[in-house]
């Protein structure tokens, strides 16, 4: 009988086409989400291999395997792939698509065709990004930040990479738009704003950032192309431009973009903790308002990336103040998570372990963010490995671990099968251990002065780079074990029940995996999303 749940699910039924074509033409939000997931996984592996290549080069001081120019290209491509192809779409496009409509009691997103269209824009942008590496006069070497005026006069293939980021922006904007309309218009009857689960809430806050911030980077990237082709002097001082203007415009988008990455991650964590504590979430409204506050104040702190760029002292002072303010709502969330667990009946399962790792990493990432946010200390550590460690702790240790927590949490819902618990726990331990070994030493050598984006270094930093190298190997093994476990279980795992964790939100009330329509009958909501007894 349970096997038939899989036979009747969206995995087997879709459009009039069969097989792969049935997936590629499907407007089912669950299928689109899964397609994003497979694509993102591939790009993650490519980006990860490039990261491994850098670690290999940095294993010993001096030039070993690749030239300085290749090294510059490698960190640029690594950054572009990881930021624009993996973590910015990441949680919203994958789990937002698969689960948000179900969690609010809808049959699909508001504009299913637009949703599929966003996916194809994403693929088109991805092809552009990858081909920028092979076409033209060499791979771009500007770093993912494309700082002018170097980006407007280097001979490498910057235009293709910039165009790729521009195109990917459209995919992001359309997904955001789709989610805003879906959440406004398609909530099940009785689901008021404050009865909506918190993952959809975090997606709603994120969607507004996607919608409003992304166009700014779009225009900025076009300005680079205009300056390259037509010599219009926006940024290059030789043409009468201002290079700091580029940094302003770039970070006006890219700081809010870091919240595009982390807000949905916080949403995932907020779903997992009540389920595995069997307890009502602590401070529902505080979590909602902190998401909105992060989205709003996050727009106003971009200058903390530019303390050493030559801004006015007034602006630097002001940005430092605002940066400290934005840390407050993030901390509120951490307190809420801890208080939710307090006196709950904790169920130690793989998603919960990933969640604990998230909180640990996010604390380190967030607190070092404050070290960077305060004007005086940042002057010392700006553009060192300390920054590299900070944002990897937030992005990989935070968003990445939340992604892994999410996949282990919703895996039985998505595939109708269960993975091997022991292997999942082992891979969690390996990934966490490897991650710590890889990035923690970077804090220390960063404080000692190891610059970022350098392919060579003084011997005194060698110990840290060696630790990082072995950390990367452990991390890689952990990821490999996890992938094997998940892929095998998706096809052959034990059949899962519709609610294996005892969750309370709507996705746990329907079959695993869901049918094409999600709900036979749209539920009527009478109580909040986390009413555990």
């Amino acid at each position: 009988m349970e096997i038939s749940a899989i036979e009747n699910s969206y995995l087997k039924h879709g459009t009039k086409y069969k097989g792969i074509l049935g997936w590629l033409t499907s407007t089912d939000h669950k299928r689109i989400g899964l397609m994003y997931m497979y694509a993102i996984m591939i790009f993650f592996l490519v980006g990860g291999l490039l990261g491994g290549l850098m670690r290999l080069e940095l294993f010993r001081p001096g030039q070993d395997y690749i030239t300085a120019q290749t090294y510059n290209a490698v960190f640029t491509v690594h950054g572009v792939i990881m930021i624009f192809l993996v973590v910015i779409p990441g949680l919203a496009a994958v789990f937002g698509n698969i689960l948000m409509p179900i969690m609010i009691g809808a049959r699909d997103v508001a504009f299913p065709k637009l949703n599929l269209f966003s996916f194809y824009i994403y693929i088109f942008g991805a092809i552009l990004a990858i081909s920028s590496q092979f076409l033209g006069k060499g791979a771009p070497d500007t770093g993912w930040t494309f700082y002018a005026p170097y980006s407007t006069d280097t001979n490498t293939n910057v235009v293709a990479a910039v165009l790729a980021a521009f195109v990917l922006g459209f995919s992001s904007i359309l997904t955001g738009l789709n989610f805003i309309v879906t959440i406004h218009r398609m909530r099940a009857p009785g689901m008021t704003w404050f009865k909506m689960p918190l993952f959809p809430w975090s997606l709603y806050a994120t969607a507004w950032i996607q919608l409003l911030a992304t166009p700014i980077v779009g225009i900025t990237l076009l300005m680079i192309i205009a300056e390259r082709w037509f010599k219009i002097g926006f940024f290059d001082p030789n043409l009468g431009g201002d290079p700091i203007l580029f940094q302003h415009l770039f970070w006006i988008y890219s700081h809010p973009a870091v919240y595009i990455m982390i807000l949905p991650a916080m949403g995932v964590i907020t779903e997992i903790i009540p389920t595995f504590s069997q307890k009502r979430v602590f401070g529902y409204k505080a979590i909602v308002f902190s998401s909105v506050a992060i989205a709003a104040v996050g727009y106003l702190v971009w200058g903390h990336h530019m303390y050493t760029a030559g801004m006015s002292v007034t602006a630097r002072w002001f940005f430092s103040l605002l940066t400290f303010i934005v840390a407050v709502p993030s901390a509120i969330k951490v307190f809420n998570w801890i208080s939710t667990m307090y006196k709950g009946s904790i169920n130690l399962q793989p998603p919960f372990f990933f969640t604990m790792a998230f909180i640990f990493n996010f604390m380190i990432g967030g607190l070092t963010g404050l070290v960077l946010g305060s004007l005086a200390t940042d002057i010392h550590v700006h553009d060192t490995a300390f920054v590299v460690a900070h944002f990897h702790y937030i992005i990989f240790g935070g968003m990445g671990f939340a992604f892994l927590a999410a996949i282990h949490y919703w895996f039985p819902k998505i595939y109708g099968r269960m993975y091997n618990n022991k292997l999942a726990n082992t891979s969690c331990a390996l990934i966490f251990g490897g991650f710590t070994l890889l990035y923690f030493p970077q804090f220390i050598i960063g404080l000692q002065g190891m610059p970022r984006r350098y392919f060579d270094y003084l011997p005194k930093y060698e110990w840290g780079q060696v630790f990082s190298f072995f950390g990367a190997i452990v991390l890689g093994i952990g990821i490999l074990i996890m992938l094997i476990n998940l892929f095998k279980s998706a096809r052959k795992g034990k059949i899962a029940s519709s609610n294996p964790w005892g969750g309370k939100t709507l996705e746990w009330t329907i079959a695993s995996p869901p049918t094409v329509e999600n709900f036979e009958e749209i539920p009527i909501i009478t109580e909040g999303p986390y009413e555990y007894k």
Binding site: L212, H248, Y299, L300, G303, G310, S312, T314, A315, F318
Partner: protein, 94 residues
Amino acid sequence: MEQEHQHITSYRTYAIVLTALLFLTAITVFVTWFDLEALTIVVAMAIACVKVTIVISYFMHVKHDKLVFKLMVGMVFILILVIFLILFSDYLFR
């Protein structure tokens, strides 16, 4: 389902809006004959803002839309304004 009310704008209104936009475009061109120095941007932006407001209100129907949409559009304007203000805390004090 709730009732979606329709609003039909007359041709006359559209004609007036179009004329106003063309007139403002002419002014934009006209002011380039003078060198306003630091004020050049301010004037150009001010005219552009008026045009944008007209387009959004009439052509994009926000004038007759529900309050929630007006609030959303208003929110975006406030955001841009705040971003500009903060940006100029750099340029004005360098």
